[in-house]
């Protein structure tokens, strides 16, 4: 088996009294699209900066393809970064920006021109080479930044919330494009984001960060369907937490569990009779939010427990809005219940040393 493209081994980073990264162990495989997902201040960007070499770990090691690079400067590491603000050199043309990595390494001019043209074609910016970054739109700058990283054919490309500054539509288009470019070049991408939707729809695997630690690592589907902690359940998608008392009434097991809103069906009348494989609870609709494709209902099932339910708008929505205040029945399969205690007993890769 070949060594992972990037390994973090017991990495700790302290800034004075603040521990930004608190013991992270992580392997990113060759050719993998790997996301570091977490709220701001959770240590994901600091991890990225330690892989790039902009920060030195207080403890632990950074390995690239099995080689210890912990003490190496950024320019000695075979990784390239796409910065959040793109960091394009404003005094250079697009071509000069893209060629920069080759120029400082002394690659000769004809080779440089050839590879610049290739890289610009790859990001669909052929013909923009003469422009200055100031004359480009946000999406175009983003592509230049990507081309500037790709041209060096690094082992790993690091992306620090690269789509954060783009509008929603462009962001969706760029997500698809980034993913397809990554598949074409076969380079590992490590992608930092706080947007769970982005992480879910682009990644081969993702790591959920919280307070400088990894809460869970796995493919998007696994992280979404079987969250190991309450934090993961709440951060990745919307999740309903059913407290132990209510859980006992519903399933006979006195342990808190989570259930996704789309797993719950809402019945105004004619709910099927509950059986041993379902949970059934009555409640009052306290909020109705129309979302176009869906309508989201908040249903109070106990005086301190409100469950969110999502329902596709198959029927005409004007009728559904009238549900506010109505008494309804919620049902879901028992296999949709995720007991939080089960997550922590399993081997949690990377969470702790």
């Amino acid at each position: 088996m070949t060594a992972p493209a990037v390994s973090l081994v017991g990495v700790v980073k302290r800034f004075g009294d603040v521990t930004a990264v608190d013991g992270v162990t992580l392997d990113v495989l060759d050719g993998e699209f790997f996301s570091l997902l977490g709220p701001s201040g959770s240590g994901k960007t600091t991890c990225l900066r330690m892989i790039a070499g902009f920060e030195a770990p207080t403890e632990g090691w950074v390995l690239l393809h099995g080689d210890d690079v912990t003490g190496l400067a950024p320019y000695q590491r075979d990784v390239n970064t796409v910065f959040q603000d793109y960091a394009l050199f404003p005094h250079m043309t697009v071509e000069e920006n893209v060629a920069y990595g080759l120029m400082v390494r002394g690659v000769d001019k004809s080779e440089r021109a050839k590879r610049v043209a290739e890289a610009l074609d790859m990001v669909h910016l052929g013909g923009f080479g003469e422009r200055k970054p100031g004359q480009l739109s946000g999406g175009q700058r983003q592509r230049v930044a990507l081309a500037r990283a790709l041209i060096n054919r690094p082992k790993v490309i690091l992306l620090d919330e690269p789509l954060g500054a783009l509008d929603l539509k462009l962001r969706h288009a760029m997500q698809i494009e980034l993913k397809s470019i990554q598949r074409d070049v076969g380079i590992s991408f490590i992608y930092v984001t706080h947007d769970q939707e982005e992480a879910l729809n682009m990644s081969d695997r993702l790591a959920v960060f919280n307070h400088g630690r990894i809460e869970q690592v796995g493919p998007p589907q696994e992280v979404y369907e079987t969250p190991r902690t309450e934090f993961v359940a709440g951060f990745v998608g919307i999740s309903n937490v059913v407290p132990a008392i209510l859980a006992e009434a519903l399933t006979g097991r006195a342990e808190a569990f989570t259930v996704r809103p789309e797993k719950i069906s809402l019945h105004v009348t004619g709910a099927p009779a509950p059986n041993a494989s379902t949970c059934d609870v009555g409640g009052t609709v306290v909020d109705v939010v129309y979302l176009g494709m869906f309508t989201r209902y908040a249903v109070e099932v106990a005086h301190d427990t409100t469950l969110e339910v999502v329902r596709q708008n198959l029927d005409a929505p004007h009728r559904e809005r009238g549900l506010l205040g109505a008494t309804v029945h919620l049902q879901w399969g028992r296999d949709a219940c995720r007991y939080l205690s089960e997550g922590s007993t399993e081997e949690n890769q990377g969470g702790e040393l």
Binding site: A52, P74, Y75, A87, L88, F89, V104
Partner: protein
């Protein structure tokens, strides 16, 4: 109607103030062309260009001009190097006394020249250093560094540190990053700061009085020749020259710093 009258008053007083400020300079310029050599009558009895020739052929003037140019050039170069290094340190590094360093570098601008002059003279005497070209340069460098520092530091604050990180990330070592990324970013500030420093050094007189030995810079030569009013129009010619040599760089420097906004990103 009343509004217009108020505007008229404002306009007139503005012009009066500007006239008051700049009329003396016009007089200096005018009397550079007068045919009288020592008396002072208004208007000048006749106009001539002969004083330009006299000034050009005067050995003292030439020596003083050459000294002033060399001092200004040397002080400017020293100021740019030290100012840039200090600005870069304050910009990129966190160290004990960072704010204090910033203040101490800029202080000579705020400090009265006479205080700087006396302080430097005492220091030079105590150190047993002979007064020379270099003592003048040191005196001028005190404020020239502050100007270079201020310009470069302002420019650096507007430069995203991620540009330097991007450069290192793409494989450039420290020197390559400086040459290809940082230097082009701060170049306008270097040119502007350099020109300002040069102009201020060129017409400096107070600090120079204390740090010069027997040498005469151009402003000192002018000052002494005013006391002995022989060939006064020649002094006016030199004054015109000094005005030109300080005015042009300052105008250029102002334009340069004004037109370089919004080049980041």
């Amino acid at each position: 109607m009343r509004l217009r009258a108020k505007h008229l008053g404002l306009r007139l007083s503005t012009w009066a103030v500007l006239l008051f400020l700049h009329f003396p300079i016009f007089i200096v310029a005018l009397y550079a062309f007068t045919t009288e050599s020592s008396a002072f009558t208004f208007p000048p009895p006749g106009l001539t260009l002969e004083w330009f020739e006299v000034a050009w052929n005067n050995g003292d003037v030439r020596d003083a001009l050459s000294l002033s140019l060399r001092v200004a050039a040397t002080a400017t170069v020293i100021a740019l190097i030290l100012g840039t290094m200090a600005a870069a340190a304050v910009w990129r590094r966190k160290f004990f006394g960072r704010e204090a360093v910033s203040l101490f570098i800029v202080l000579p601008i705020a400090l009265p020249g006479i205080v700087t002059g006396i302080a430097l003279r005492s220091a030079i005497s105590i150190g047993g250093i002979p007064f020379s070209f270099w003592t003048i340069v040191i005196g001028h460098a005190t404020f020239a560094v502050a100007i270079a520092y201020n310009n470069v530091a302002a420019r650096m604050r507007r430069t995203s540190p991620s540009l330097l990180e991007a450069s290192a990330d793409l494989g450039a070592n420290g020197w390559q990053t400086f040459r290809h990324v940082l230097l082009p970013q701060i170049r306008p500030a270097l040119v502007a700061g350099g020109m300002l420093a040069f102009a201020l050094s060129f017409d400096e007189i107070i600090v120079t009085t204390f740090t010069a030995g027997n040498q005469q810079t151009l402003p000192i030569w002018m000052f002494t020749s005013l006391v002995r009013p022989r060939q006064r129009p020649m002094t006016n010619v030199v004054a015109l020259f000094v005005v030109a040599l300080t005015f042009i760089p300052i105008v250029l420097a102002t334009r340069l710093t004004r037109n370089t906004e919004g080049t980041t990103g």
